[in-house]
């Protein structure tokens, strides 16, 4: 096939799949959260249990006026939503669903996702800084502090997995995976999950967008489609983090009939993790800013370092 055509085809498939899966996760959150709170959630849009609610929301967002505050740093303010959303799309491209099903196979996949994923911080920080609003600024600063401190335990947890597999390629990591990993990489997995939720700024780590205190944090001044982009990036973030978790810690496409059903296993495991992330949001209250930093530096970082040491010892002993 013509390489340019193939590139375009892969890109279109990736973007469509990315948006569809993000919307599915968003709809799942609507329904799961509603039922966990004894409600029904959306029931009308689309007919069957409100399946088209997020599409209806998108149409509504399209009709809203696109406001930019007078004192805002206009250019930065307008670009910020794209900067928040795009890194997740880039990360999504390199996560393999099966050894062959991947949009772009990168050799050092684990490094690439950590590098690309941390660009998303910039989007939030840009939004907070350029809005010329005290709530946005406070939220942006909180987001930056939180994302920086949770980046470290996340990197350490990924490093532990890469060390255990002996490669930084995501495909290589899944190939090296065996069920024993569930046990001895468990602390690393817990650290990764907590850090991932914190990276997504979701409850219980939603201090940066805490509505009762600082309205909506960095998103306060956003309206219409730009606000929708931020919401979409939150759901896309859940997708990316769940996929990563299932690839790094749950063995991706490993499972019965993995030759034929490989991608299905990856997606099933990711769906389970997504529901867990939604569940934690419903069940747990928000952490205070100091508790949040304390958890990152006094619990997660030592735990991740201990996991890294354990993995190193294991790898050295087993290679002898």
């Amino acid at each position: 096939m013509n390489p340019a055509l193939e590139l375009a085809l892969r890109l279109v498939i990736l973007v469509v799949a990315f948006i569809v899966v993000a919307l599915v996760v968003g709809q799942t959150e609507h329904k799961v959260m509603a039922h966990m709170q004894g409600r029904l959630g959306p029931m009308y849009a689309g007919g069957f249990h409100g399946w088209a609610q997020l599409l209806a929301d998108a149409v509504k967002f399209l009709q809203k006026e696109d406001l930019t505050p007078r004192d805002a740093d206009r250019w930065v303010f307008r670009v910020a939503p794209a900067v928040a959303l795009a890194p997740y799309l880039v990360v999504c491209a390199v996560i393999p669903l099966s050894p062959t099903l991947v949009a772009a196979d990168v050799g050092a996949g684990a490094l690439f996702i950590l590098a690309a994923g941390s660009v998303g911080i910039l989007g939030v920080l840009m939004a907070g800084w350029s809005s010329a609003n005290k709530y946005s600024l406070l939220g942006g600063m909180r987001a930056a502090a939180q994302l920086l401190s949770y980046e470290l335990p996340m990197v350490l947890a990924v490093a532990s997995v890469a060390l255990a597999a002996g490669t930084v390629s995501l495909t290589g990591i899944v190939d090296a995976w065996n069920p024993l990993w569930l046990l001895w990489q468990l602390p690393g997995a817990i650290v990764f999950l907590i850090a991932a939720i914190a990276e997504l700024k979701r409850t219980p780590f939603d201090m940066p967008v805490a509505e009762p205190e600082i309205v909506m944090g960095p998103l306060t001044e956003y309206t219409g489609l730009r606000f929708a982009f931020f919401m979409l990036s939150e759901y896309a973030g859940i997708v990316v983090m769940s996929l990563l978790f299932s690839v790094l810690f749950l063995g991706g496409w490993h499972g019965p009939f993995s030759d034929a059903l490989g991608p299905v296993w990856t997606l099933l495991k990711s769906a389970f993790i997504s529901v867990v992330i939604i569940w934690l949001r419903v069940a747990w209250p928000r952490l205070r800013e100091d508790q949040l930093q304390r958890l990152a530096w006094l619990v997660l970082v030592p735990l991740a370092l201990a996991q890294l040491a354990l993995t190193a010892v294991w790898v050295v002993l087993s290679s002898q």
Partner: protein, 191 residues
């Protein structure tokens, strides 16, 4: 005995679980249990709500009972009742008798965009011309359409529920006592 002493004295009463981890697990269990149960939501436009019979939905007017005394209008806290009336002279019923005057209601309107549903007008009406009806679906696209004139107010009358039954062994209502009293006989002339 306070609750504290009680829980100490009775070992079967489990102390409430405390600490971070049990609390977090408790949160997860509670939400999962709630998700497993069917929700209590009644989907309103498809399923009608079960309203108590004394719900204050809309005010109905029984025009025949109204004497245009203006009490409701004057007591209304936000002055949303409009009454216009005129006096009509009735000819004497007997030869040489006096002519009577009677109030005739021209307009009775309640502006439900102002009404705060306090029910003072219903309470204050001495002739039971105003009644609460539990109907509530009369939203309008134009706020001025919420001004219900007396025909519209009269249309609510069939939706007014019957008054609640009297308690067992309660006193007879005054009206029935009065109606059952034997007619007064003319006293015999004194000898």
């Amino acid at each position: 005995m306070t609750d504290h002493q009680h829980s100490q004295g009775n070992p079967s009463v489990k102390p409430k679980s405390s600490g971070i981890i049990p609390g977090l697990v408790q949160g997860l269990i509670t939400t999962a249990k709630t998700a497993a149960r069917p929700s209590h939501t009644a989907e309103y436009p498809d399923a009608q709500p079960h309203l108590p019979p004394r719900s204050q939905g809309v005010i109905a007017l029984l025009e025949e009972n109204c004497t245009s005394c203006m009490l409701c209008s004057r007591e209304c806290p936000d002055w949303c009742i409009y009454i216009d009336s005129h006096k009509e002279t009735l000819p004497a019923t007997t030869e040489g008798g006096r002519e009577r005057q009677r109030n005739v209601l021209d307009r009775f309107a309640i502006d439900f965009s102002l009404c705060m549903y306090c029910g003072i007008c219903v309470e204050v009406c001495p002739f039971d011309a105003l009644h609460w009806s539990p109907e509530f679906e009369y939203a309008e696209l134009d706020i001025t359409d919420l001004l219900h004139e007396k025909t519209r107010l009269g249309e609510w009358m069939p939706t007014v529920p019957l008054p609640p039954a009297l308690d067992p062994r309660s006193a007879e209502p005054q009206e029935i006592t009065a109606a059952n009293k034997p007619a007064r006989t003319t006293p015999e002339a004194r000898p």
